[in-house]
């Protein structure tokens, strides 16, 4: 049986930050469209580096990375925004604008990708509804709980309606109940067909939501388990 070509493929990928510091070490990995995958491992294992290679925040120094059949090396620096519009990125720290309200945070992101004011007016309520934070539309980030802030960040990652969501430690700063809420939100997005990649060292969450788990260490895959 011939399997469909993977949505994401790492072929013998290495990232060397310097001669002695390695982010990824000849890593090979395939992820199918619609998969939900956890990347776990200790600090410095290469989880964030792996995700940043996909978002092109880090350049791989060796090997080949493909997303939807496209080689990431084909994207020149001036065209990286086209790649990033194919994915939603949830960064490790929320990166919300503290002086802007919830809706303004989303509006700012939408305006910066070229949406008109009318489009912003239509899109913001829809996205906030999607991530269940519409009731806090006028709140400032500091008035929100960690879980609510993370919902806004996830909402912001959805503005381009991407087929892929990449989240770096999305539950890292949250208490257990908020972590579960966020994970359920991400599972909901996955059930709608979105491919979700999560870097996490929150093992209780990873154990609770039995999905494909790739354990990294020293930039290599140490173990892989698919409990989906």
């Amino acid at each position: 049986m011939v399997s469909a070509s993977p949505f994401i493929e790492f072929r013998d990928v290495s990232v060397a930050y310097s001669r002695d510091v390695t982010g990824l070490d000849h890593l090979s990995l395939q992820i199918q469209r619609g998969e939900f995958t956890f990347f776990t491992g200790p600090t410095g294992a290469g989880k964030s580096t792996l995700l940043k290679v996909l978002t092109r925040e880090v350049h791989h120094t060796d090997g080949e990375v493909r997303l939807g059949g496209q080689n990431l090396n084909d994207f020149r620096d001036s065209n990286v925004h086209k790649l990033r519009r194919q994915m939603g990125i949830v960064p490790q720290n929320y990166e919300l604008l503290p002086t802007k309200r919830v809706w303004e945070n989303l509006a700012y992101a939408l305006r910066s990708v070229g949406k008109s004011r009318k489009e912003v007016r239509d899109e913001v309520p829809r996205i906030l509804q999607q991530v269940n934070i519409a009731h806090r539309i006028d709140a400032y980030p500091h008035q929100l709980s960690g879980g609510e802030q993370q919902r806004v960040v996830i909402g912001r990652a959805l503005i381009n309606k991407p087929p892929l969501l990449i989240a770096d430690e999305p539950t890292g700063n949250l208490d257990p109940s908020q972590s579960i809420e966020i994970m359920e939100l991400l599972l909901g997005l996955n059930s709608e067909g979105m491919t979700v990649l999560i870097a996490s060292h929150d093992m209780p969450v990873v154990e609770r939501f039995a999905k494909r788990t790739v354990r990294l260490e020293h930039g290599r895959i140490l173990a892989e388990e698919d409990r989906a």
Partner: protein, 290 residues
């Protein structure tokens, strides 16, 4: 259009945030462009002024003794063809001697043979060409090559040296100030970049194009340069008005030229805008790499 309004709004927000630095950059560019523009303007004014006074400067050219009338006609014709010469008048030696004799009692000049040669009065249209014209006249046949060409060489050299000194000192100070203005624009933009790095990161994360991320900073720098340039033009106009009113009070200096508003605004505004654009581009090169 909505994209342009977003980018301009972003640049305006950034300028407001670094108000002190923005003000410093704009005023320094304004003063430096005022100095440079002022020097250019002063040169234009003095060029026109020297062209006007050139008519008052004249050369005396003496022919060798024994030059015949046809030869004198040829000499006049050759001098009129020279670049920088406005007109040439022949002063016959007899007429000159008759005029000269009137200055003295008759007994002094009686029985004295006319010592004067035939001469020409050469009126210049361009003072700066006096030396070249004098050199060429000396090559015309029948011109007394030793002391046959006389003009106010020293005075012209003084005017020229004064203009040259003014040019170097003014350009030096103006350039230095322009450099300081550029550094201030650079710093203002760097501050903007650092104070808005979260915004820039968000833009990059959601897929804003490189141009969208960078253009607000370029608009900010260009606007600072443009406003500085226009400010420089206004200071220049104010200086012109002050000088012009003094000139009107002293009627002997003649009527001042009208201030070239359009040229000053467009010229200095354009120079300021381009300079601001270049400085802001340099400022974002490193922190926004990638």
């Amino acid at each position: 259009m909505h994209r342009v309004s977003f980018l301009i709004a972003e640049a305006a927000v950034a300028s407001r945030r670094n108000l002190t630095m923005t003000f410093a950059a704009i005023t320094t560019v304004a003063v430096s462009l005022f100095l440079l523009g002022g020097i250019a303007y002063l040169f234009r004014v003095t060029d026109q002024a020297t062209a006007m006074v050139a008519a008052k400067f004249e050369m005396r050219v003496y022919a060798l003794p024994g030059t015949t009338n046809p030869q004198i006609s040829e000499m006049a014709k050759a001098m009129r063809q020279l670049d920088g010469v406005a007109s040439v008048y022949w002063i016959p030696r007899d007429k000159a001697w008759a005029k000269e004799r009137k200055k003295y009692p008759p007994e002094v000049t009686e029985n004295v043979e006319n010592p004067l040669p035939d001469a020409f009065k050469v009126v210049m249209s361009d003072l700066q060409k006096s030396a070249a014209v004098a050199g060429k006249i000396k090559q015309i046949p029948h011109v007394d090559t030793k002391e046959g060409v006389q003009y106010l060489d020293a005075e012209e050299r003084f005017v020229d040296q004064a203009r040259s000194l003014l040019r170097w000192v003014g350009t030096g100070i103006g350039s230095l100030l322009l450099l300081v203005g550029g550094v201030l624009i650079y710093n203002a933009i760097r501050l903007s970049v650092f104070s808005r790095r979260r915004k820039a990161r968000i833009m990059m994360l959601v897929g804003a194009s490189r141009l969208t991320v960078r253009v607000p900073y370029l608009i900010e720098g260009t606007a600072q340069g443009l406003i500085g340039g226009l400010g420089g033009a206004c200071i220049l106009a104010a200086a012109h008005t002050a000088v012009a009113s003094k000139m009107l009070a002293l009627s002997s200096l003649g009527r001042p030229m009208p201030f070239p508003w359009m040229e000053a605004l467009v010229g200095l505004g354009l120079v300021g805008a381009v300079y601001g654009l270049v400085c802001s581009y340099v400022a974002i090169l490193l922190p926004m790499k990638g």
